[in-house]
Subunit: 321 residues, 2 copies
């Protein structure tokens, strides 16, 4: 029996530092309405979709950055998005900076059911960058300063998305490069990964010879491999374009369980891409080449969970001839 | 300081069932000599490089298949390859079916130092296919019948390869699709993964809608992602062409730590491809975006080693509105 889902990824163009949340929310409402007219049942918005990517600026005092965070969801500023979703019967995924009542800060994503209820929340685990000001970098990347490591693991839930119950999970930006993150979702039979990102077009670490032209390739490679190896769909959605003088790449994609790109954004602006997904495609991989129960060998995977860092291997020396 | 390695991947065309090991070894010696003339310092031969891919045929009695296995390495039949390596000062990687003195059977690969000593041995962990005759399949794939799961883990050793000590590891065929296998190598700072394969061009499981035209893409995707995400080189080397009426795809590749294909075989025959590798390229990934100690979060990876199979997620239900 086919289980179809019309899936939309709503790339956002840049949000300048001076722009308020109501500007971003207005743009998202228009994208959601467009998605509705195109027959989409769910819309995936990017990471930190309400503001500029503020971790590029250093603040000595964290409290001075509090205005970038949401302490309520929905809030007055975001309520129009929840209302539009309810009006059109569309669920949506939204990334934002979360500040909890007890003062903890996370890089967070939620899936909001058309009723306005949050069906799934995820807090980013793989925070890139650094916690202190790095004088070597051309631009700071202070996610390790502004956020704690997510404390919710990689949750998957079976929730109504469009006309079906779908196993949904989330990754945020740098998570997509880590096969462990995809695998923990795959171990829970994820069918659709919602994934937002803000990724600079140029590497600003200023360390050696990384090829800028490969950055979109690395993003796509990671998402396509994650989908293929875990037999799932993904919507990987960018905030793109030149934000406060800093270029973020776009190339948002929707990928199927064979690792194929079904749709791709080609602008650096607000842009909607749509794919008609047959969720039953997830079964082929899961029941054959990636039948985990039949083929995985956790006894051989010990180092993956035993420690964070790598260790040098032993040396071999040829015996005297 | 540059650490260069001239790396050769020696794809083999088909080996028919009627052909003896001396035919295959003769072809490999010629490829090794060609590699030497081209300045290569190491040659990577494929999985099960001495015979046809025999797991496509069912034998009720395993002993009737004993002639496919090597009980000594080197043997009279393989000695010319070891001698050629010594003569030219080239190390090589070889895959073969191993039968141990106590009667155990493995799908094995070794790296042979030019001295003729085995510097590293690996036994395939991710055996694909099935153990019993499967009447639904158009062609059998009986690796789970003919081999035990490898008992050596995923070893990495620092060994002389060309003029440098290099951290080498191995994967065999289906292993390349499993990010866990790559990661266990990466956790040991692998710099070069030697990887042989025999992969049918058509899926013979006869189950549904797998796209045959994606099979080379899936192979490359897995190798490129494995190299990028673990900051290593790989030589992924096929036995290719029509073997006893069954087509194996080629497209052997050498991949760098950015996930780029440096060289690719384009025939289905014996074919040598070469790449000049700067081993220092492994450092960029390892010291920045894939600095494991700084960024990995094993606390969130528990399910990867906790069990083999996946589990369905919990259901979420909207509260009454």
């Amino acid at each position: 029996m086919p289980r179809r889902l019309v899936l939309a990824a709503a790339q956002l163009g840049p949000i300048q530092r001076a722009e308020g949340r109501e500007v971003a929310v207005g743009r998202m409402v228009r994208l959601l309405e467009l998605a509705h007219r195109r027959g989409a049942e769910v819309v995936v918005f990017p990471e930190l979709a309400l503001t500029t990517f503020f971790p590029r600026w250093y603040e000595d005092d964290l409290a001075a950055a509090d205005h970038w965070y949401e302490s309520a969801m929905p809030s007055n500023a975001t309520a129009p998005l929840f209302e539009a979703a309810r009006r059109h019967g569309i669920g949506f995924h939204l990334g934002y900076a979360e500040k909890t009542p007890d003062g903890r800060r996370f890089n967070t994503a939620i899936y909001v059911h058309p009723s306005g209820q949050v069906a799934l929340k995820y807090r980013k685990v793989h925070l890139p960058g650094h916690a202190e000001h790095d004088p070597q970098r051309r631009v700071q990347h202070l996610e390790k300063r502004y956020f704690e490591v997510g404390d919710l693991g990689f949750p998957v839930v079976r929730a109504p998305v469009g006309g079906n119950d779908v196993n949904i999970g989330m990754l945020i930006c740098n998570d997509r490069r880590w096969p462990e993150a995809w695998r923990v979702l795959g171990m829970q039979q994820v069918e659709l990964v919602m994934l937002g990102y803000n990724t600079p077009s140029l590497n600003m670490a200023n360390r050696g010879f990384e090829a800028h032209h490969l950055r979109v390739f690395h993003s796509h490679l990671s998402v396509q491999a994650g989908c293929y190896q875990n037999a799932c769909f993904a919507a990987a959605v960018a905030k793109a374009g030149t934000e406060d003088g800093h270029e973020l790449f776009g190339h948002s994609i929707i990928v199927n369980p064979q690792g194929e790109i079904m749709a791709q954004a080609t602008s650096w602006e607000d842009e909607l891409i749509i794919a008609d997904c047959d969720l039953e495609m997830c079964r082929l991989g899961r029941e054959t080449i990636f039948d985990f129960a039949a083929h995985r060998r956790p006894d051989a995977y010990g180092p993956i969970t035993a420690r964070a860092g790598s260790q040098p291997p032993p040396a071999w020396t040829a015996a005297a001839g």
